[in-house]
């Protein structure tokens, strides 16, 4: 069942990908990927490790260039943008990295202030402090404000990483393996946080994961990536109600093993 009321038409389309190819040497990672993400929608991209899930969101954010195909984000073709326009677009995209990627020489406060003060130079000091406190309260970690990343647990790092992206108030959120390496309870907390972010900030999101619990808890739509292409797309139940052995074994591995 769909968690949010999504209007799936061209006017509400935030991400539009057609015929996306990407290879690294002889390794053809993406082989003609098509995907649409609509306003306020959480799309989960499922797949085994090394199937190109992270590559997909790195192309969307302009970190990697595609070999072929079009990637249109918020009405702009990402691979055709100059540096200035790409920078402007990136202000509207939040990227939560698999290993959180917190700047380890900075405190939590500095990690959050860094993107804000550098991109919104007209903000007063009081507004910056207020913004940092607000996002930290939002992820429930205000008490860690003066700690170093090395002093945080894995789950806390993930939440601070998400908070750092939220401080720029993005329209699109890209989550790379948000629950990888976390215990089940922390996974549930992260899943809830992803849903809270969607409700509070009205973001459209792509959630890259191989964790089916995360997919079920957060996804309005699930897309199964296999051999560089989306094998099935739809609700969680639709995707897994198939006799296809590859999808069945993926499901069984997650829920039985």
């Amino acid at each position: 069942m769909e968690k949010h009321n999504i209007q799936r038409d061209e006017a509400h389309r935030d991400i539009h990908i057609r015929g996306l190819f990407k290879s690294f040497g002889d390794n053809h990672v993406l082989r003609g990927v098509d995907l649409d993400v609509y306003k306020g929608e959480n799309v989960v991209v499922l797949g085994r490790s090394g199937t190109g899930k992270s590559v997909l969101i790195k192309i969307i954010s302009g970190l990697l260039k595609p070999d072929a195909g079009t990637v249109n984000v918020l009405g702009q073709d990402v691979d055709k943008l100059d540096n200035f326009s790409l920078r402007e677009l990136r202000l509207k995209i939040g990227f939560s990295f698999q290993n959180s990627a917190l700047y380890d020489s900075m405190t939590v406060r500095e990690n959050l202030e860094f993107p804000l003060v550098r991109n919104k130079k007209n903000l007063k000091r009081r507004q910056v402090v207020e913004a940092v406190r607000t996002v930290l309260e939002g992820v429930g970690l205000l008490q860690t404000i003066d700690q170093m990343p090395s002093e945080l647990s894995g789950g806390q790092k993930k939440r601070i990483g998400i908070a750092r992206t939220l401080i720029l108030q993005p329209e699109i959120m890209l989550y790379d393996e948000p629950t990888a390496g976390l215990d089940p309870i922390t996974c549930i907390e992260i899943n809830n946080l992803i849903n809270t972010v969607q409700e509070r900030y009205h973001t459209s999101s792509i959630i890259i994961t191989h964790d089916l619990t995360c997919a079920k808890a957060t996804g309005d739509r699930v897309a199964m990536l296999l051999d560089g292409q989306f094998l099935r797309q739809g609700s969680f139940e639709e995707v897994f109600s198939t006799p296809d052995e590859r999808i069945e074994s993926f499901y069984n591995y997650n829920f039985i093993q």
């Binding site: 954010s61 070999d67 550098r118």
Partner: protein, 266 residues
Amino acid sequence: MSLNQAEPRKYFISKGIDQFFTDIYLTFRFVMRFFKELVKPPYEFQEIIRQCYYIGFKSLSLITLTGFITGLVFTKQSRPSLAEFGATSWLPSLVTIAIIKALAPLVTALIAAGRVGSNIGAELGSMKVTEQIDAMEVSAINPFKFLVVSRVVATTLMIPVLMAYTGFIGLLGSYLDVHANELTSFATFFEKAFEKISFLDIWSSIAKAVTYGFTIGVVGCYKGYNASQGTEGVGRAANSSVVLSMFLIFIEEVLIVQITNWIRVF
């Protein structure tokens, strides 16, 4: 796009030779990008000052010790040879020529390559493999400008300052030894010390220090910025920063000495 278009990659000569020329091309592009980002606003003054502090001030204790011992030992080892000819009064000018022309720039650069170059390589390498550089990029921050330009500018500015300091400390070490043995006064020592030093010698040393500083910064940043393959890659970046910096410093030393000699002749 048909997958048949992506044929297995062929090498022009061999994997190693292709890689060598590719590395030269990529380094050239890296340096060109540095100059492009250097002149383009906004300027990272705050980060440059922070890096100058780390590179300059934090190296002082090591530089002080090395410079002092270099001056002292060089003086002690030169004395017996000069004493044979009764020419120990030449010690100040001999030591000064050696320190100003060669030892101060070279010792400073080698110490900095070990301490600063490895630090930059490891720091940026670690940031690269833990996706911190990507995180800056997706936060609409230019990581090249913030991380690379600031560090290269800081090493280029601070190595000449450290070199001047090494020279002074080295001469101080030399003076203490000369004073202890020949009872030469401070004023006489420094008057004799700079008798044989020309402006060309000083400018040549400054040119050396600027070149070495730039080299240490660029090599450290290039190796760190392009690190891959996890923690092993970080170690490799730190190590190769030091090795390549030292190798280039020796080549530059030979070239600058040769160019200075040509200028001296003309």
